[in-house]
Each structure stands twice: as C-alpha cells, then as structure tokens.
C-alpha cells in the first residue's frame, strides 16, 4: 500500500464514522414514556410563539407534539381517513368550508367547552359542542394602492369591477382546488353571484386573471407588494394583509383590502374521537381560547381572535380593517355543493 492510499483509507474510514454518527438509528421517535404527550394534528400554517407553548406544557403538565401537513382541506381529509385510529388527540385548523365533512364523518367527539365572550356567533349551526371556534379572518381582494396612484388609474372597489377591461391582466388568484384561500374566494363569488358564478368566472378568466397554485405564489411572487415584487397589483389575500405592507417609518400601508369582496373563514379546534389523551386534548382546546393565545393569534397566524375585547397589535388596529358584512354561503349549501363547485371551477380553469 502506498502512502497516499493509506491516507485515502484513513479519509474513507473517517468519513464513514462521521456519517454513522449522523444516523437516526437508535434514536427514539416518541418520547411519550408516561402518557403525557398531547398530539396536535394541524395544517402547515399553524404557529404559536414558543414561550406560549412552553407555558401550556408547564401549566397543564402535558407535552405538546405538533403534526402539521398540507392545507385545511388536506387536514380535514386526513382526519376523515384516519378517523378510526387518529394520528393525534386534538385537531386545529378545520375551517367552515370543510367543517361539515369532518362532522358528518364523526371525526370529533363532543367537549362542552366554556366559550369566551363573542365566540358563540362563529359556531357551526347544528353542531353539538364538537368544534370550538378559535379564530377568523376574511379572504378579500387586495390592491396595491401605490401602483394605481403611479398609473393614474382608479382602483377597483368590487368583484364586478374586476371583469372590466380597465383591469385586464392585473389580478392574481390562488386556485380553489389547490388552496384554502382560493376556495374561500370561490365561495365569496358564489355568495355574490349565486348560480351565475360560472359566468362571472368565465369573464374573470377572459379578462386575464392569473390563477396560481397557492396563496404564496399569488401574493409573494406575482403581487407587486409581495416579497418577490411581482407585476400584478391586484391579488386575492386576507383582510389582515395590509398590516404587513407598511414600509419602515411610514404611517400608511401600501395595500388595501376591498371590503365588499370578502368571504369569512373561521377555524375550529376539537377533540378527536378515539384520542388517547382526552383530558390533554381538552386542555389544549381551552388553551387556544385563553386570553394569552387569543392575543397572540394575529402576529402568529395572521387571523383575528374570536374572544371579544382581545387587544390587537398596533399595526393591525390601524391597518387591518375587517368587513362588517362579508359575503356568505350557508354551511349546508357548502356541504351539498362543494365538490360539484370545485369540479365545475376546475373545468373552467383547465384547458
């Protein structure tokens, strides 16, 4: 063996040893030795500040484990599919556009939670204490006010305006079949135009609307005020979005939500039927409704609290305006027609 080949052998052995140290073999997946874990199943937008979660662990005596995947729709279907053997104890993030599917499938078990003031108006009609409303937010058309000023163009104010030639090729919309934001917007147009909604969408698409995969592509990539500073000054986003587009040191947001175009989304939490740790799950639902978590919701997940009297962050209080009369579709109607609407919408958009 030559000198270099000895060196090479040493190098190879060293690499191999280093790699072995990396392996996950031998590490344990569940550290739930004493049944103290509460497993939360949620969507991938779920976030809470670390100190709050630590506080839950400390005060309840449980340890929170988070399983997050997909959007609200994926989450709901995951829960429905694993209903006989759930992947966790408690779920957060099923919204009013999908709630009835989960309720009909018997995903949740009743928990008679004490709702905070103001929360009861978000309850699903006919639900017997299975889903507790946690937060709400509206999906609204947002516009870049600076763009319209620079182009000397009167900004649109309503859904009807978006099909006018003046606003041709200016709108980005997340897809209804691939994003919960998109589904909420579709429901808003259905709330407004009833059975005539396909005609509205045909006009919208004919007017050059850009349909994207998800919210992030529409807002961050295509929208002029998004992170990627795209080319389209009108986008479907949230009523809270203007609070995030206030330039440093400025006193006004560069964007505005059109309050006549909004559809309200409410997110719920509930104890899963077949949960291993029922008391832990109930404690987590209580925790989500506590004043501390309700106050943290806007900054963490860009949604409004359901507990009335919860103070909002300064930027929100000033720039995030909620609509007083959002467009609505009844949960019963959504249950009966959601799939048919999604199929129809998909046909309209695809070639």
């Amino acid at each position: 063996m030559s000198h270099t080949s000895v060196l090479r052998t040493v190098f190879a052995v060293a690499t191999l040893t280093a790699l072995t140290a990396c392996s996950l073999v031998g590490t344990s997946g569940t550290n739930d030795a004493n049944g103290k874990d509460v497993v939360l199943v949620t969507h991938d937008s779920f976030v809470l500040p670390k100190p709050l979660i630590a506080r839950f662990d400390r005060e309840s005596g449980y340890h929170l484990v988070v399983h997050a995947a997909g959007d609200g729709g994926t989450l709901t279907n995951k829960l429905v599919l694993t209903r006989s053997n759930p992947t966790g104890d408690v779920a957060f993030g099923v919204d009013n556009t999908f709630a009835t599917r989960a309720l009909d499938a018997g995903v949740f078990s009743p928990y008679d939670v004490t709702l905070p003031p103001g929360a009861s108006r978000y309850l699903i009609p006919g639900d017997d204490h299975r889903l507790a409303p946690i937060d709400n937010g509206n999906v609204c058309v947002n516009i870049d006010t600076t763009w319209f000023r620079a182009h000397h163009l009167t900004p649109p104010r309503s859904l009807g305006a978006l099909v006018k030639p003046a606003y041709r090729d200016l709108l980005a919309v997340p897809g209804a079949t691939t994003s919960s934001t998109g589904l909420a917007f579709l429901l808003g147009t259905i709330g407004k135009y009833g059975d005539q909604w396909p005609d509205y969408w045909k006009a919208l698409l004919a007017n050059g609307a850009t349909v994207t995969d998800g919210w992030s592509q529409a807002y961050e990539t295509d929208f002029t005020q998004g992170g990627g500073h795209g080319r389209l000054p009108i986008v479907v986003s949230y009523d809270s979005s203007p609070a995030f587009t206030v330039p440093k040191g400025a006193t006004a947001s560069t964007t505005k939500a059109l309050l006549d175009t909004c559809f309200r989304q409410v997110e719920y939490a509930g104890v899963l039927a077949g949960a291993q740790n029922v008391t832990g799950a109930e404690a987590f639902v209580d925790f989500l409704l506590s004043p501390e978590v309700q106050r943290a919701l806007p900054d963490a997940m860009y949604v409004f609290p359901v507990r009335s009297g919860t103070p909002l962050p300064t930027a929100w209080a000033r720039y995030a305006v909620q609509p007083t009369h959002p467009l609505t579709v009844s949960p019963a109607d959504i249950t009966a027609h959601r799939d048919e609407w999604l199929r129809q919408w998909s046909d309209l958009v695809s070639q």
């Binding site: 063996m1 080949s5 090479r8 052998t9 190879a12 790699l19 990396c22 392996s23 996950l24 073999v25 344990s28 997946g29 569940t30 991938d44 937008s45 779920f46 976030v47 988070v66 399983h67 995947a69 997909g70 729709g73 994926t74 279907n77 995951k78 429905v80 599919l81 694993t82 053997n85 992947t87 599917r101 897809g175 079949t177 691939t178 349909v211 995969d213 998800g214 919210w215 992030s216 592509q217 807002y219 961050e220 990539t221 295509d222 992170g227 990627g228 795209g230 080319r231 979005s241 995030f244 900054d299 963490a300 860009y302 799939d339 999604l342 199929r343 998909s346 958009v349 695809s350 070639q351």
Partner: protein, 544 residues
C-alpha cells in the same frame, strides 16, 4: 436448489421493505376506494375513466411526459458523453451543478422560472409563463441529471476498444456511435429514460406551479380527488390506471433493455481530449447548462437582494426561525435534520439497491428463473410510478396500528425516501454489474476464493465508482424529497424542503428572502456532497 435459496435470501429484505412501505399502504388506499360497506364495488371505475377531464389528464400526462423524457435524453446523453468521457476542465463542477435542480422544492423552481420567463424576466417576451412549454422545460430542468448520472456511469466504464477498432476500419463517427456505442449503452439509456418518464408522469408541483392550473395530469387529478373532493373511489381508479400503465412501461423497458450479448467488457478508461466531432455534443451540453444555470442564478441573485440593495441578511436570518415565528426551529436545524435523514436514506437505498442489482444481474439457468429475476427488477420501480399522495395517505391509514405501528418511527421518513431513491440506485448499478463477465467469478471460485472474496476481488473494483455515484444520487434524492416527507414529518423536526415551503407560505419579505436563501443553501449542499462523493476513493482491493 442452492442458487434459488440464495436468491430468496437476498430478496427477502428488499421484498419485506417493499411490502410494508409500498404494497400495504397503496393497497389500503385502494381498499378505501373500492370497498364500500364491506363489499367490493368497482361499478364507478368505468364512469370515472370516462369523464372528459380525466381523459384529458391522461392524455396530457402521456404526451408531456414523453416529450419531457425525449428532451431530457436529447440533452442529457450528449452531456453524459461530454462530462464522463472527455477531459473538459471543471467537468466535475458542471456535473455537480446539473444535479442541483433535482433537489430544489418545486415551489422554489416556480419562483426561479417566474424570474426568468415571467413578464419581467429576461425571457419574458416569449410569453411562456403558464404554458405547456414551461412545464416541459421544468421537467427537463429537473430530470436531465438523471440521464447524465445513469448513462454517464455506464459510459465511463465502457471499453473504448470496439469503437476504436470500428473507427480504424473506416467507420464514420456517426456510424461508430450508432452501431457500436449505442447498442452497448442501450440498457443504461432505456433505464434512464424509464426512470425519467416515471418522474415526469408523477410530477405534481411542476405541472401546477408552472402551468398555472391550466393543465391537469393524472397526478394532479389524484391529488384533487384525494385531498379536496375525498372521492376515494375515483382516486383509486386512477391509481390502478397509473399502476397498469407503469407496469406496461416497465415490461416494455425490460424487453428493450435486453441486449443480444449482455456481457459487455468494461474497464477503466482514460478521458480523452475533445475533438472536432464532439462539437455538437458540446453545444447541446452548453444548452443544458444554460437551461439549468439561468433559473438557478436568478435565484441566487434574488436571495442576495434586500430592499433593492445587495445584502447577506437573508442568509444570516437562516439561524433564526423566521419573522412572525414562521417556524418552530431555525432553518439551520432543519438542514442538520435533512442531512441526518439523508445519511440513513442513503445507506438503506444502497443496501437494498445492491442486493437487488445483484439478484437482477446474475445469470439465470432457466427461463423461469430469468423471469423471476427481471420481474423483481421491475417491481421495485413501481413506487416511482405511484402518486405520493396515495402513498402518504396510505401510510397514515395502514401503518398506525400494531403490529405495524410505524407512523411515529423516526426511521419512517428515511425508509420512504430510500424507496424513492432505490430505483435510481438499481438503475445505476445494474448496467455496470451486468457488464462483469460471470466467468471471472467462476474463475475466482475455481481458484479457491470464497463467494465473499470473489465479490471483493471481482465485483467491488468495478462497482465502486458507480456505487459512489449512486450513493451521491440517493443522498440528493433524499435531501430534495418533499411529497412523502411532508406527510410524515413532525413540526419540531422538519427537513429543509419542508421549512422552505413553510417560509414561502408565510407573509413578510424576510420569510420570502429566507426561503430563497434556504433553497440556495440546499442546492449548494447538494452540489458539495456530489463533489465530495466523486473524490472519495478506496485503494483498489485487487486490480484486474
């Protein structure tokens, strides 16, 4: 008899893994779809397949994947020649660069392509945004490196003497290529094309992100049916269709791979200088490098821009969990998680891949044995042809109760990733192992070498380099895997692609910038791993 027992013993572990992590989950989803109230109900299948949107999706999948595969081969084959046979300065660097797209999350590729072909980009005038051309370009962008790796490995160790002899006898370079080189490389080319076709046909993010939802493929339909409509019967019908088409493709590929004389002499070949005849190949390689480098460089540039000036702020922020608590852990922690998982996924796919490759390439005594061996080869390609959604949901439905209570096992993610990487490993190893003359092993045995000794003296020296290449590719495959991982991952132990996806989904300029910076880090890590792997050598155990 002993041969068959050895065969069975070698095949047991791979088959067990495939059974638990593929057959059971996919079977579980098919059962959810077809069994209603305890009865098998296939009535809806014909109706589903007759729907116009489903037929459109099937047609689009077939033609876009075929076109994508052809173009990936058209650009990848010349590049394999240039990067594996010619003495070109910096060729290992170019090779590493071309693998980067393979690991990038599709949502980031969407951003990168938008920067190039979007209305403001350098190619914005062409109006490709949201077109089928953009989708196909994306498919080629992702998959060209598969062709280069799989074919390049075989090409590298191809004996140059037959080609030289043909040239000396007056054959034109084109004739040599057509009559000598291509027949010898055919198994590798068919292998690569098959894998690329499967990747194209199951590409999900690319079709949605670059096509702006105007196009739907079988994969996006399955996704829609499963995650939105919960129409599991229709999804199951499509999954069966997918399985049938893939099986047909694999059978055809196995036929096409079969060469009249499977033993092609292989040896270590010295690289040669480029000649005039190499110009077309060099040009096509250049085209591919531009296709890959343009979106990647826009991505790098964008990740370095903050508020209109140059800055490293996005990169510094990777040590944090993002603004507005976008993440539970810093991005750097996710990178470490990714690397650790990739190490496991790599050794698993190598172990399984090596056993499979050995099973497949041993000479069969009977026709039945031959069928059995090549059948096994095909079976392990099936996971590539099945939707990640079906597999992901299947994991959740079937692997949650004893004796298979694996949903929370930390090894589930690497195993799932290893299954994705496995066909690549097998495809890289098989053409090389097939090239080893079985008589050498027999000679070694006659001279008194134990089977293990014969393995180290005959097989290992030839297989070592391709094995490293396969390891690098499996590692890259694992680093970039998103589909199955996103279903299984825990929030406090995310992988880098999962974190990037979450960052880009959260508002705020910093999160967006961090997503881009994270993607650059992911790409760079992959490139570095590929470079290191190519430099790893062991002293040859015995030279031939």
């Amino acid at each position: 008899m002993r041969r068959l027992l050895t065969l069975a013993a070698t095949a047991t572990i791979p088959l067990l893994v495939l059974g638990i992590f593929f057959v059971i989950p996919v079977g579980g989803m098919l059962r959810e779809g077809f069994v209603q109230d305890g009865h098998l109900d296939l009535g809806g299948v014909a109706a589903v397949l007759g729907r116009p949107e489903i037929q459109r999706a099937v047609w689009f999948t077939l033609w876009s994947s075929a076109t994508g595969t052809l173009l990936a081969c058209a650009l990848g084959l010349p590049a394999a020649h240039v990067l594996h046979r010619l003495a070109i300065p910096g060729r290992t660097w170019v090779r590493a660069l071309l693998v980067v797209p393979f690991v990038l999350p599709t949502v980031v590729v969407g951003v990168a392509f938008e920067l190039v072909i979007g209305r403001g980009g350098p190619l914005g005038r062409l109006g490709l945004d949201g077109s089928a051309i953009a989708i196909i370009a994306g498919l080629v962008f992702f998959n060209a490196s598969v062709v280069i790796r799989v074919v390049g490995g075989a090409w590298e160790s191809l004996d140059p003497r037959p080609a030289e002899a043909a040239a000396a006898l007056g054959a034109s370079p084109w004739r040599v290529l057509r009559d000598v080189t291509f027949p010898a490389l055919r198994p590798a080319i068919v292998s690569a094309a098959t894998v690329v076709f499967l990747f194209c046909a199951t590409a999900f993010g690319i079709v949605l992100t670059l096509g702006g939802l105007r196009y739907s493929s079988v994969e996006t339909q399955i996704y829609l049916l499963t995650t939105d409509l919960l129409d599991l019967q229709a999804a199951a019908a499509l999954s069966v269709l997918q399985l049938l088409v893939v099986t047909g493709l694999l059978v055809a590929a196995a036929r096409a791979r079969r060469t009249p004389d499977a033993t092609v002499a292989h040896s270590h070949v010295r690289l040669r200088r480029p000649r005039a005849g190499d110009v077309p190949a060099l040009v096509l390689t250049g085209v591919l490098v531009v296709l890959v480098a343009l979106p990647l460089s826009s991505l790098v540039v964008q990740s370095l821009r903050v508020d209109g000036t140059w800055s490293l702020a996005n990169y510094r922020a990777l040590q944090t969990p993002g603004s507005h608590q976008a993440l539970l852990v810093p991005v750097t922690t996710a990178l470490v998680n990714s690397l650790r998982i990739a190490v496991d996924a790599t050794w698993m796919s190598l172990l399984l891949g090596l056993s499979l490759a050995m099973i497949v390439t041993r000479r069969s005594r009977t026709r039945a044995e031959h069928r059995l061996r090549s059948g096994l080869d095909g079976v392990f390609m099936l996971p590539l042809g099945v939707s990640a959604v079906t597999l992901g949901f299947g994991f959740l439905v079937t692997l949650g109760s004893p004796p298979l209570d694996l949903r929370d096992s930390p090894l589930l993610i690497p195993v799932a990733q290893a299954l994705v990487a496995l066909p690549l490993v097998v495809r890289i190893l098989v053409p090389v192992l097939a090239g080893i003359d079985d008589r050498l092993r027999q000679a070694a045995a006659t001279l008194g070498a134990s089977p293990l000794r014969a393995l180290t003296v005959v097989d290992l020296p030839v297989v070592w380099k391709p094995l490293l290449a396969a390891a690098g590719f499996a590692f890259a495959c694992s680093l970039g895997e998103f589909g199955a991982t996103s279903f299984l991952v825990r929030d406090d132990r995310p992988t880098l692609p999962v974190v990037i996806y979450r960052l880009i989904g959260h508002p705020g300029d910093l999160n967006y910038g961090m997503a881009l910076a994270g993607s650059v880090v992911l790409g760079a890590t992959t490139a570095v791993v590929m470079l290191v792997v190519e430099r790893l050598r062991v002293p040859s155990v015995g030279t031939l």
